[in-house]
């Protein structure tokens, strides 16, 4: 794999600062109870925790696929929690997202899926006629090359394997030239070997583009291996926030409850 194309001017306000974030789907039953954290360092930040503890909700609150109940989510001076309409769309362009089930448009080709990452930038007629700007198309080819799918540009997305689809998903997110990548269980639908490859790729993206990659992940070992920082969540709260080395069995017992599962 060749090097990823690097963003021209990195370094402008990429700090993500979340304060007192609360999300209740049903009144009185908070899924997220007062989350505060900030992320500014490049590389993988892994969020671990049991199912149903609000990891996905947290990620989705950041790009507002889920509307937070209260609290603020600051990114480079704007509060994402308060945005609506056009400003929200503009802010979302700066947040790339990678999904558990890839969320590709199955009947479109790989290159079209990657170009979907530009939809926030190009007018609708360009999307309709597929007349994307030259530099976008060149960039899309370079990205496909860098994720190892150079020969797959005109394949339909539904003809790819899971790992290949996730690579397209990552290329689509990078295509946005994001300041931050959010990955919601990017490896949960993949086999162990492919999971490692995908984490490797996400780490590379973070390193080369110099941006944080916030990853929800179930596999603690995999998280430890690639994350520079780990956030442990339990019952809607952050119970650990620090380097992987500092994560003890006692923390894991607190996060997941019980100890029997730790072999």
């Amino acid at each position: 794999m060749s090097a990823l194309p690097v963003a021209e001017a990195p370094g402008h306000g990429r700090a993500l600062v979340i304060r007192n974030l609360v999300k209740e789907y049903r009144k009185g039953q908070p899924v997220l109870r007062d989350i505060s954290l900030s992320v500014s360092e490049p590389g993988i930040v892994a969020i671990i925790g049991p199912s149903g503890t609000g990891k996905s909700t947290l990620i989705r609150c950041i790009n507002r696929l889920v509307d937070p109940t209260s609290g603020s989510i600051m990114l480079g001076g704007t509060d994402l929690a308060k945005l609506q309409g056009e400003p929200l769309r503009a802010a979302r362009r700066r947040l790339g997202m990678v999904f558990q089930e890839y969320n590709l448009v199955e009947r479109l080709t790989v290159i079209e899926n990657v170009l979907c990452g530009r939809l926030g930038y190009v007018p609708v007629w360009r999307a309709w006629t597929r007349r994307f700007p030259e530099e976008d198309i060149a960039h899309a080819f370079a990205l496909l090359e860098s994720v190892g799918l150079g020969d797959f540009a005109t394949r339909r997305a539904d003809q790819l394997s899971g790992g290949q689809r996730q690579r397209v998903g990552i290329a689509r997110a990078v295509m946005q030239e994001p300041d931050l990548i959010l990955a919601d269980e990017p490896t949960s639908s993949l086999d162990p070997k492919t999971s490692v490859e995908i984490m490797e790729l996400l780490a590379k993206v973070g390193r080369e583009r110099n941006i944080p990659v916030l990853v929800n992940i179930h596999n603690v070992a995999l998280a430890r291996r690639y994350a520079l920082r780990m956030i442990g969540m339990s019952k809607g709260l952050v119970v650990y926030d620090g380097p992987p080395a500092g994560l003890q069995d006692s923390h894991l017992a607190e996060i997941y409850g019980g100890e029997g599962w730790m072999e």
Binding site: A91, C116, G120, A153
Partner: protein, 543 residues
Amino acid sequence: MSAPPVSAGGSLRARAFPANWPLRLGAVLFVAYVIYAAGIVDIRWERFVQGLGNGARFLGRMFPPNLAHDKLQLLAQGMLESLQIAIIATGAGVLLALPVGLCAARNLMPLPVTILARGLIALCRTFHPVIVAILFVKAVGFGALAGILALIVATIGFIAKLIAEAIEEMSMKPIEALRAAGSPFLSVVVMGVVPQVLPRFIGFAAYQLDSNLRNSALVGLVGGGGIGATLFTAFQRFDYDFVLTIIIAIILAVMAGEILSAFMRRVYQDEAPSGEVKQGASGPVWHRFTAAERGMRLAFWGVAALALGWSVQTIEVIPEFLYDAPAQTVDLFARMWPIDWAYFPKTVQQALIETLHTATLGTVLAILMATPVALMCARNISSSVWVNTLGRFILVATRSVHTLVWALLFVAVFGPGALAGVMAVAVHSIGFTGKFLAEAIEEAKPGPIEALRAAGAPWRSVLLKGFWPQVKPAFLAVSLFRWDINVRESAVLGLVGAGGLGVALQAAMDNLYWDQVGLVLVVIFAVVVVTEIVTATLRAKVI
């Protein structure tokens, strides 16, 4: 093997085949109703036999079909106009249906917008195209324009509903991803929604073209132009040999339409375009389509545009009528108000009951006749190609000729009244009911069938215990769905003298009592709504 367990008194032991008394009672009541209704609409053996005699004479007058030069010219003129009506109505209707269907999709649009759009769709679907055509004939005058407008309304109702359903059934995952990338709404639609629903949409549009071709023969009966007008004139002049020519022509045209739409579906539906990548001077160059794909698309759109252009160019529309239309429409509805409720107990109530009887009896008769035909068509039952083909021909032929046209024929055979209506409903429904039954039979899993055959069961037992349990849900669903359609159709059969609400409608229109017309329309509306609720409830219960 041990003996089956017996509880203390023996009475609690579960029986393998418990009697379902409510079901048996229901069946007995239903049979009793059918006999009673048959008595009401005057289905008697003597009338039937007498009708057969008439029918023989009638058929004698139809054969041989009239192929005289002047008649063929009339035929060509009518068919051409029908084709143009169908093309314009499909083109315009589909274009208008797209935004309406999008607005009706509850997974993309806010609730108030979907309610408005769904209301519009329901309105377009409630009234039979013939009734809509009658209203348009009053508003814009006789001729093709009224027919086109009526079929546009029908197309919007049908296509928009299916588009909304297709959008609601698509995967929301890619939509979420595009939203997360900051795409504006329309970009989400063109890149996320369109690729997912396009194959089904092409299928609907192709089906609608063929359905409009069939229906354009229909709107002509009430003054909406096209081959229907030619047919109606031939009937009024007792030119029965020409009637046969026209009916054969309609069947052939509808068959050609079905082949064409099947072809269109195959070309456009399955494989999404893939495009190609070529190496350019400054790196790879992406082409969305290969040269061959581009050629196919150009050819397709070229033909579509030419057909539409030709139709719009040559069809006869009188512009003065068009300018006048809004005023005429307002005037029409003003004359309907206030509605003459007193007309209800006098005539309409009786007609309403007759309509319901007609629909039910016609559906029952259709199922009786369609079942053997479906067995003939199902390839996993009849292995003979000849039997299959004959069955399929019967299905297409009965379906191609619209209920109202069948009603014209049966009125000539049995005389005016509900009997002709029942026969028309029954014969036309064979095609629809038989087609879906045959498909359900062909989809039956071969495993249980093989097991029964292996156990040495005779074919009757194989049908009853192997196929029937598998086909039953589809059978009930199709019967209910057809009954729902037949209620709508029965309501207009009276326009050609085959009994029911249409007779009251025709009488009121002939007398220019528009307040009574208003009443009949309100009653039809109510019946259609109630029927839909009843079938929806039954469907949820039975299936």
